[in-house]
Subunit: 374 residues, 2 copies
């Protein structure tokens, strides 16, 4: 297949751009002297994860047990499930571990830690648990100096459960757009997570791994002393939010939505396309950033951005593309013409599709399946 | 299964509330003397569509050819594909029609109409085409008095293609919240669509069907003289956007997301749950309405809304529930506790799931599959 023949809407991965993004991140991680554990929640696609591992990634990060199961079935064993465990999910996690998956789970509270200990006794098996650290007030985790940190470590260790590491995610990096501020947040993320590990070690808890990361802080960090691994997800495709943060150019964005023109409203300067919010997602992540791209930035079929041509409105299967010059709208954007739309947020847009169409440099495409659900 | 045993996050349909919503709309349509053609893009679920047809719906509306194919396979023959046709999709539409599906397609421009005529000649078969009318400046369609309307009708009729009707969707009704304004828009939608049909008929084009609708205008219309059928989608579940529009109460919302508590940030009054934007969608439809519910309104497991307890933040698999009183947060919302979250926009939230769990009045649940993709 090629783009001219694909039915629309469709999610397109530009393989060369994706590979460029993968190589850029892996090269940076190698220079910083850390392992790299990509977050595969962005793609939920074994073909993409294989490209990340081929470039040097060691293990993966997942956000659901379904991802853990699917990527383990695809041959990846070293998996961090990076969302605080619900005790009711322990049997499903243990079933995967007992199939041979090197699954790590995380906790940030005594109730979950005690439940893990109890469950492991009951199951006559164990988990490797990492403790979640909050280094930027973003959502979950324990402050590096919280007394509960050592208390939770002790609950696990005394219960016979290994505390394998600490991990943090400086998600507030998405709100920045200044290289110095990003570098400062990367240092705050590093220092807080290393501090947590040191406190645990001082209390006699081994804590071998120190894991940090978000795409912006990973790319902004000047050094990662004391850190053993970095996690990042969206870098593999990048998106318009990341372009506004300043860690990529719009030309680096490897994911786009192929769409067809279905109508015009010449008086309003609107081109109607068949990519609505079902095709783009409802993500409006650029709405409070420097450049608001609506639901996405339109490109010609070859991927060249049409500057100033944003998807300003979206219903379920209708997108409204606002065009600066209204002259000859129906001639410049004829019915059936194919365009590509760069997404605000690659993780959210990808999630709308059962598969990607991976575009090679010769213009051919192949299907790369992705999964959804939990 | 029951809610206590389901893995989270999960999409729950309260069958009794759904049936109430279906009966309410069908009763109103019967009173107005029109046929009712529900828009099944909301559910993408054959079990839900069967309940709508059992209550009296005649035919369905779809937003994609995949929906048309899936619902035809489930036994529904009378289908309107209510997105302007892309000429490249005609072979797929014709393949479905030739299997016996009574598929109607729509157009609002001469290029598409000519392409339909040409394709039908080539295929030695025909389509029933409806013309799309714009009655509120919302997105697609021709103004009722546009000269092009009759011209397009003639292109089709002279090409041997039946003009079966006109259809419009007053989607700007979602932006209102006043009964009188809604009734006025419903009248504008009705009058504009009837006017378009009359112009076509005066030009010798039969145009048997006059189809209008959106959930708010369907419920607000005082009479529907000249209209033959109404379409509406989200009424089957309702959602918080519709509650703000004023056409349902939050207690009518039949779709909710089951979630588990995974953490706390007591200093901030935050309960962290495992329903993030992947579980809720990125839809922030209530953000500019009277009540902004963030990513959704939390309820107890039995469905009772916890007033003032909104999902104020969402990452991919983390939701941040802001609780008014911070006292005893970890006791009132213990780790593992299950809650239900009402969505802003049922169509967008449902789309995140491969299946619903339909909850009966005895507390049992069964799986109702739904599909995604195009």
């Amino acid at each position: 297949m090629n783009l001219e023949r694909l039915d629309t809407p469709a999610a397109i991965i530009d393989i060369a751009k994706m590979q460029h993004n993968i190589d850029r991140m892996q090269t940076r991680m190698n220079a910083l002297g850390v392992k790299f554990r990509p977050h595969v929640k962005t793609s939920k696609c074994a073909d993409v994860a294989r490209a990340q591992i081929a470039a040097g990634a060691q293990g993966i990060t997942v956000s659901t047990l379904k991802e853990a199961e699917a990527f383990f079935a695809a041959g990846i064993e070293d998996i961090l499930y990076a969302v605080g465990i619900v005790p009711a999910k322990l049997p499903r996690a243990m079933a995967l571990k007992q199939k041979g998956c090197d699954l790590k789970i995380i906790a940030d509270n005594t109730v979950a830690a005690s439940a893990i200990v109890e469950y492991c006794k009951h199951a006559n098996d164990t988990f490797e648990v990492w403790l979640e650290i909050d280094t930027d007030g973003h959502r979950s985790g324990l402050a590096p100096d919280d007394d509960a940190l050592v208390a939770i470590g002790r609950v696990l260790q005394e219960g016979g459960v290994e505390v394998g590491g600490v991990m943090t995610h400086a998600g507030s990096s998405y709100e920045l757009n200044d290289p110095e501020a990003l570098a400062a947040l990367a240092e705050q993320e590093r220092a807080g997570c290393v501090r947590a590990a040191e406190r645990l070690r001082a209390a006699g808890i081994a804590c071998a791994t120190v894991s940090v990361g978000s795409t912006p802080t990973a790319l902004a960090a000047k050094h990662l002393e004391g850190v053993t691994e970095v996690r990042a997800g969206v870098y593999v495709f990048f998106d318009l939010v990341m372009a506004n943060v300043g860690v990529c150019a719009s030309n680096d964005v490897a994911l786009s939505v192929l769409t067809s023109v279905i109508g015009h409203q010449p008086d309003k300067g609107w081109v109607i396309v068949d990519a609505g919010w079902m095709a783009m997602s409802r993500d409006r992540g650029t709405s409070k950033q420097t450049h608001d791209y609506g639901y996405g930035l339109a490109c010609a079929l070859d991927g060249t951005p049409l500057e100033g041509c944003a998807l300003v409105g979206a219903n379920q299967e209708h997108g409204i593309l606002a065009v600066e010059s209204r002259d000859d709208l129906a001639t410049r954007f004829p019915i059936g013409m194919k365009l590509r739309i760069l997404p605000n947020h690659a993780c959210a847009t990808g999630a709308q599709y059962p598969e990607y169409h991976a575009l090679a440099s010769d213009g051919s495409t192949v299907v790369w399946p992705r999964f959804h659900g939990w």
